[in-house]
């Protein structure tokens, strides 16, 4: 009788674990991930055009334009590794202070990190690769400067220090494949329990000027075509995003 009981228990446990494994590995259908992006300066919500933010170098600055692409989104799960969702989105902080895009066709798995480019992968970084719309045309990086698209347009006004009287403009523009920014973030995204998960991200604009390189806008305020400085800003850009919540 005890043997029978043990056998039955074993069978039940086997069935239970078998069913668990099946849930994790037999992915029927696909889900979606909504990326919701907002903007801040060291925790304070970004107000476009306000000359009041202070970066690591002590420059007082404003943001009048912030446009960029997010592309080549990849999700990591322990069993299957990286899953690439090969898509792209154009973000515009002035037009949409909070912008939400929905990434479809995502396999139903439990992911624990997400990575993406700020910019476009080389396969998309040429003029005829994106839909021919006014929005994308305005992001074009001229052929004679390397071609493709602006990955980032971050513009505004600045004073060198709080006591400076001169207000100048700055334009941090990134483009060409050397200035592609890779962002990698931990995020527990459980797409096994629900078909749509919302990942809220926050861009801290100050990070573009902070880590690992303290960038002083007074030294060079216009970097388009300056490969070295574009790479500095691109490297800083790896830390501009944090995950605020996953729901």
């Amino acid at each position: 009788m005890r043997i029978m009981k043990n056998l039955l228990l074993t069978l039940v446990l086997l069935m239970f674990f078998g069913s668990c494994k099946k849930n994790q590995t037999d992915f029927k259908g696909q889900g979606s991930i909504a990326l919701k992006v907002r903007y801040a300066i060291d925790g304070e919500g970004l107000q476009m055009g306000q000359l009041k933010y202070v970066n690591e170098a002590g420059n007082v600055y404003s943001v009048t334009r912030l446009q960029y692409y997010i592309s080549h989104i990849a999700l990591f799960d322990r069993e299957y590794g990286w899953t690439l969702i090969d898509t792209f989105y154009l973000f515009d902080a002035d037009k949409y202070p909070i912008q939400r895009v929905v990434i479809g066709n995502v396999p139903l798995r439990y992911y624990d990190s997400i990575k993406f480019y700020i910019g476009l992968p080389p396969s998309l970084n040429h003029h005829d690769s994106l839909p021919n719309t006014i929005e994308h045309q305005e992001m074009i990086w001229p052929e004679m400067m390397g071609g493709g698209f602006h990955f980032l347009k971050l513009e505004g006004k600045f004073k060198e220090t709080d006591t400076s009287s001169t207000i100048s403009g700055y334009a941090m523009h990134l483009g060409t494949n050397v200035a592609l920014v890779t962002v990698s973030l931990p995020a527990q995204i459980d797409l096994t329990e629900q078909l749509l998960v919302e990942v809220s991200l926050e861009m801290n604009v100050n990070e573009w000027f902070r880590n690992p390189h303290t960038y002083n806008l007074a030294e060079k305020s216009y970097i388009m075509g300056d490969t070295l400085r574009m790479q500095i800003i691109a490297r800083n850009g790896q830390d501009v995003f944090t995950v605020v919540s996953v729901n």
Partner: protein, 340 residues
């Protein structure tokens, strides 16, 4: 006697046939208009509420050139075409007049008019032209029987309202597409540019001139508002730009980017026509830009706000700008009413 009767019979028959024909002419079966979008141009945003048709375009063209549009209003005696002259790329060179050219406006989705006081679709801005600028008295249009027919054929109604007038104008303006200049032919690989034009193009499309950020090809405008440094602290409200509309000090001196298509014939330049020639405009960008808190950030390049172009660079840049002239557009008879 028999001959007379026969003659009467023929005349009556002819009259009846002609009556029947008149009735047939009022049928409403609009023909979709095939817009020819030049190679490399973006998709033109369309208004689903105002599909473009041959009948609508013909009506819009007639209205565009009709001075009755302004009868009794503040612009009495003028039509759209009075200040938007085809040979001037639908702009005007009269002294003291500076109007934005009616070229490639079908792509406009942001700001309208020099100071950006209007927003919305092409239909929205045409509604402004009809109701506020011209203050069209539609009863004057109803007096014209051909209009009754044309409105019916275009919109299926003989009841003419401001909306139909504005929508017809919008349809016609959508057809004013310029994309066959020397530059376009060069882009299509049909012809080559001179060495000077190529050098000018390099200035235009690089950080040297940095023109492309606002004058985005192929439309050569971003339809956006910028302060390019015409004045440091404008005192004349005419020079306030968007600030006069929003009251936001961040908008002082911001004006809408004009297209550079056919720029050779659209002078005088800037919102107040202060520059009579392209040379003056280039001199301004080279040495005349004035700093201010609202100067567009993109005007700061390489540590300064002046391009400091050499005489040769100025000549080359002008040579490139002249390649944007589209003679086929400036002379296309289909944009004139007599070409029906």
């Amino acid at each position: 006697m028999v001959r007379m009767s026969l003659l009467w019979l023929v005349l009556i028959s002819l009259f009846l046939v002609s009556c029947k024909k008149d009735k047939l002419a009022y049928t409403y079966s609009p023909t979709p208009y095939n817009l020819e979008i030049p190679e490399g141009f973006p998709q033109m945003p369309m208004n689903p509420d105002n599909p473009i048709t041959k009948e609508g375009v013909e009506l819009g063209k007639k209205l565009y050139y009709d001075v009755r549009l302004s009868d009794g209003g503040p612009q009495a005696g003028n039509s759209c075409a009075t200040c938007h002259i085809q040979s001037k790329s639908f702009a005007d060179n009269s002294p003291g007049v500076s109007v934005l050219p009616h070229v490639n406006l079908g792509w406009g989705t942001k700001h309208w008019l020099w100071n950006g006081s209007k927003q919305g679709t092409l239909e929205d801005i045409m509604m402004f032209e009809v109701e506020e600028f011209f203050q069209v008295d539609v009863s004057r249009l109803k007096e014209d029987t051909s209009y009754k027919r044309m409105f019916y054929e275009a919109f299926g109604t003989e009841e003419i309202t401001s909306k139909e007038v504005a929508y017809a104008l919008a349809q016609f303006v959508r057809t004013l597409i310029s994309g066959n200049s020397k530059y376009d032919k060069y882009k299509r690989g049909e012809i080559n540019l001179t060495e000077s034009e190529k050098r000018g193009m390099a200035i235009f499309f690089s950080e040297r001139g940095d023109c492309f950020h606002c004058h985005v090809p192929p439309l050569f405008t971003d339809f956006d508002m910028h302060n390019i440094g015409l004045d440091s602290m404008p005192s004349d409200p005419e020079d306030w730009g968007l600030f006069a509309v929003t009251g936001d000090s961040a908008d002082i001196g911001k004006f809408r980017t004009p297209t550079l298509r056919n720029v050779a014939v659209t002078g005088p330049y800037m919102h107040d026509g202060r520059f009579k020639t392209l040379d003056e405009v280039i001199d301004f960008y080279s040495e005349g830009v004035k700093n201010s808190p609202t100067l567009d950030p993109i005007m700061n390049h390489n540590g300064g706000i002046h391009l400091n172009l050499t005489p040769q660079e100025k000549e080359d840049l002008k040579a490139f700008l002249l390649t944007l002239t589209d003679e086929s557009f400036l002379n296309d008879p289909k944009h004139r009413p007599q070409a029906n």
